[in-house]
Amino acid sequence: MSAFKLYYKIANKHKGTVIMYLAIMVLIVSLTFVQIDLSEEGAFSKGQIAIFDEDNTALTNHLKAYILKGNEEVIIERDEQIINDYFYEEKLDIVITIPKNFTKDFYQNPNEVRLATDESINVLINNGIKEKVNQYFRIWQQYLLLYDYDIDVVTEKSILKELDQLFESSVEFDYPETEITPFQKLVPSFQFLSYALVGTGIAVVALAYLIMDKTAVYRRNIVSGYSERKRIVGIFIAMFLAMIMIWLVGLAISAFFAGTAGFKHDYFPYLLISEFVQLLALTTLMFLIVQIVSKEEIISFLSTILSLFIAFSAGIFVPRDFLPDMFIKSSSIFPNYWHINNLLYVSEASLDLFEFDYWLKNIVVMLGLMFVYLIAGILIRSRKQQFNS
């Protein structure tokens, strides 16, 4: 118990640092929530397009309406800097300029006409929009062939009408449309919480332990006759409780932003168990880190670099779809990877059937990692003690 108390006394002495790290964590998780609320559902597949039509004919007006269908029109001044600002702020994906006499040239020589574009770096969306436009003109060319490149106003009108019917999307979706549920809304914040737990955990929880292990404090403990085993257990419990407190702060922010509706979901206990196991495994990871690292400066370095590495490689900052396999797998030596597997799975399964096996596998791996960290930590500690004695 005395080790437990001493741990919190030391933590209390560093409360400025603790508060600062917690404040950053609160800020990151809160802003993530605000961001989730503000970003529209499906915004990634919706292009934001500005069209400058210098020709202004029936065909170009039709083309404009066709391009904008399912996308969002951005009304913008034709100024390079303003356009670049819009690109940077992700308010615009592509600017398409239809030149003067485009229609006339197209009817005469469809293969020679060109549309000018100014594009953001959102390649995937821009290429999708461009392919859509190319398809429009491929189909138009079929009609030019049919009418032997002789298009009068009446023919043009009838073709445009027919094109409207052709382009009416008819792919059907035979399954219920999924809306983000309050439960699913919790998941991204829990992912960020997983990142914050590593950063804050190393910087606060591990650091306090490191200070406790500093020679003077450690010697005082040894000479007091306090058993080493009791001391380790006391510190470990104190560390775990500190981790839980940090986690509770994150949970409170989640409840504040997403409400408590998600907590009542049937699968929430599964998520909670996974969180709990992750916390345990992370605490043992902190224990191991302190056995390896003996300098406060290196702890600070680790808290930054390790948390960022885990956040990027486990798919917290960037969706796993875009990460190289090897990079994702490199994070599997940390419990966060397996916990995020569970978060993603439980979120997805909340709309479908829950398979216990997959969830359990991730829990077992986290527990396995926990034992590995613990045994490695104990071994390193006893080696260090042997060396010191």
Partner: protein
């Protein structure tokens, strides 16, 4: 004397192991992590080809199924289920075609089993109209692409039917003499003429239509720098902005060693008779030069990884160096303002750059827009954001007007923190220890 101090503080700096870690190891480790994390975003199409959309095609109509597969074969590959995974069995049309989609023909029960086992992303039923019966693991982007592919098929189907009718009408009253000579007409029966004429018209139409389909129409002008654009650059700009601004702790370090109440070395230096301002600059200068050199190295390292930040090397490196200067002065100002809280200073040294990095979109770009819309002042004074936006305008703008705006903002920031540092040093010199 000043040159002696510079030599002395350089040696002191390099003898400190934590300085070595933060200056040498951290920036390169961080950029490498960012590079791997964003490599999928840098070439999204290549990433899509590496991880194509997997679908099961179930058939309600064999003709529809065959037509759909003919259409998909332009950019897809057929696959079979082997060892629990879809394995491509053929690559039609051309060996090196780009594959965005893998399809597997099966029945509904097996398809449902496969989607449950996450072996496929969607079940597509080949019927009129095409129906997506279920999907899993497809984000917005991939779902949009799949729908666009299938919409393309639906449009082609409708187009074929429509053109068929219109061509029939067009050719219903053609002159038979356009296709046969008088001699041929005399030598053939009516049935033979009718059949052959139909075949000739069909071939004529098919040739014309095929010519258009295969022409791969591209109405867009080629982009001048299309080879250097990649969607991950915005994140790189923010990451480099963060790295430029991270040496706050190093800035604190410069002051710690000249003020008596902050370190043993400070005590010794305070009785040396040299003014604090002189010692500060002597301690600050080598550190600044080292950081500036590393900024230049990071610029080249990023280039070595294949990420082009643009061709304005001098301006890019200058911006990074000014970011370093801002960070070092923030650190030194903190050390003079919080002389007794070393732990807090260390925490702030990590926390401030991380906070500014996060709010400038280093982790989620949308956050930067959120901050710019709701907290414009924070957005404007955020040094990581200034460097990050400065790098962006250097990349995108044809002139340097906005780059100089960024320099101006950083200049003001630097000046403010320099004044705070010098004022703080002066305050300490009055023995308020």
């Amino acid at each position: 004397m000043f040159s002696h101090l510079i030599r002395y503080y350089s040696q002191v700096y390099f003898k400190n192991k934590s300085n070595i870690i933060w200056t040498f190891l951290f920036p390169f480790a961080y950029i490498t992590i960012i590079f791997f994390a964003l490599s999928g975003l840098m070439e999204p199409e290549a990433s899509l080809q590496e991880e194509p959309i997997k679908i099961a095609i179930i058939s309600a109509d064999s003709q529809e199924e065959s037509d759909l597969i003919d259409y998909l074969d332009y950019f897809s590959a057929n696959a079979i289920l082997e060892d629990g995974e879809l394995q491509i069995i053929e690559k039609n049309n051309s060996v090196d075609k780009e594959i965005y989609l893998i399809y597997h023909q099966t029945d509904e029960a097996k398809a449902r089993e496969m989607i449950k086992n996450k072996q496929i992303n969607a079940i597509v039923e080949a019927k009129n109209p095409i129906t997506i019966k279920d999907s899993q693991g497809l984000g917005d982007v991939k779902m949009g692409i799949l729908t666009q592919f299938l919409d393309g098929y639906e449009t082609n189907r409708k187009l074929t039917i429509s053109l068929e009718h219109q061509y029939e009408a067009k050719y219903s009253n053609v002159d038979v003499l356009d296709y046969f000579s008088q001699e041929e007409l005399a030598s053939k029966t009516f049935e033979e003429i009718s059949t052959e004429m139909e075949a000739k018209i069909d071939a004529e139409i098919s040739d014309e239509i095929l010519a258009v389909i295969e022409s791969q129409t591209d109405v867009f002008e080629e982009q001048a720098d299309s080879d250097s654009t990649n969607p991950a650059l915005i994140y790189f700009f923010a990451a480099i902005g963060y790295l430029a601004f991270y040496p706050i702790s190093a800035g604190s370090y410069t002051v710690e060693h000249i003020i008596a109440n902050q370190s043993e070395r400070g005590k010794r230096n305070s009785v040396s008779g040299v003014t604090k301002t002189k010692m500060f600059f002597a301690s600050f200068l080598p550190l600044f030069i080292i950081q500036a050199f590393f900024s230049w190295l990071i610029y080249h390292y990023v280039g070595l990884l294949g990420v082009s930040l643009g061709h304005r090397q001098v301006q890019i490196v200058s911006l990074m160096i000014l970011g370093n200067l801002a960070a070092l002065l923030t650190g030194s100002a903190l050390a003079t303002l919080l002389p007794f809280q070393k732990n807090l200073r260390t925490a702030l040294g990590i926390g401030i750059p991380l906070f500014f990095g996060f709010t400038s979109g280093m982790m989620i770009h949308h956050i930067a827009i959120l901050i710019s819309d709701n907290f414009p002042i924070l957005h404007k004074i955020n040094p990581v954001g200034i460097v990050s936006r400065g790098l962006y305008v250097l990349y995108s703008d044809s002139n340097l007007v906005r780059f100089f705006d960024a320099i101006k903002f950083l200049g003001i920031y630097i000046l403010v923190f320099l004044v705070i540092t010098l004022y703080g040093l002066r305050k300490n010199s009055y023995e308020r220890l």
